[in-house]
Amino acid sequence: MYAVNFLILGALLFSLGVFGVIARRNAVMVLMSIELILNAVNVNLIAFAMMNNSAEGHVFALYVIAVAAAEVGVGLAMVLMIYRNRRSIALDELSAMKG
């Protein structure tokens, strides 16, 4: 199996995630797109670990999984807080920081 298979799959998943972050208006959907991006990176890390036949890539992937879990927890808590305060999670309506 060629290494480019995994790496191209990772690149395509990453691009779809970036498209989701740009296109989506609902904050929860943006968080889902960020999960796509993190998983694309993990696929690449596992491919490189297989290429070098080492365990370091797996360890990095596990770090990324743990950080992603923390990120989703805090992110969804922030989304809930914004929803409670403003009754909306549409990202283009959160313009309080616009000058």
Partner: protein
């Protein structure tokens, strides 16, 4: 096609890879394009399960199990709770996309084209050896508890801080 299909290595692995990759990419397109929030979450399950299957193909069993437990078990429940608590309409919904969502298409195409070009240029013809078996978990723990010990402990504190932070943010007072 010849450049992407290593027929001399392991046919079953290649076929499995392409089938799972096709399902994953279809699921990912549905996640970013569907008009229903709950359906997007369920398609995300398909993508995450596909990633776990690719880990198994790449001999990363421990990471695959962690992926299933953390993502499909925990993160998806969090997402569904988030959807429920923000009272998104269950059913199709207009206004899930920004007004300027079309801008995302050229950005994503440009990004994908650049990355695929770089990757193919650098790693064309690099063959991944078929591993004899799964990566032993003892090898992972050797890395975790030797050179990776400090980041490992730091990660525990990150998780602790995230848990406390989420409670503080989401608490009603």
């Amino acid at each position: 096609m010849n450049a992407l299909l290593a027929a001399d290595v392991n046919v079953a692995q290649n076929v499995g890879f392409y089938v799972i990759a096709a399902v994953m990419l279809y699921g990912a397109v549905r996640v970013v394009s569907t008009r229903n929030v709950v359906h997007a979450a369920l398609w995300l399950v398909v993508v995450l399960g596909g990633v776990a299957a690719q880990y198994v193909l790449a001999a990363a069993e421990f990471v695959a199990i962690s992926q299933v437990m953390v993502y499909i078990g925990a993160v998806m429940v969090l997402f569904l709770f988030g959807i429920m608590l923000t009272r998104a309409t269950i059913g199709s919904e207009d206004g899930l996309n920004n007004r300027g969502w079309g801008l995302g298409i050229p950005v994503a195409l440009l990004l994908a084209g650049t990355m695929i070009w770089v990757v193919v240029d650098q790693y064309r013809g690099t063959v991944l050896e078929s591993p004899e078996g799964p990566m032993p978990t003892t090898a992972l723990s050797d890395v975790f508890l030797r050179e990776g010990l400090v980041p490992f402990l730091a990660l525990s504190f990150v998780l602790l801080a995230a848990a406390i932070g989420a409670i503080v943010l989401a608490r009603k007072d």
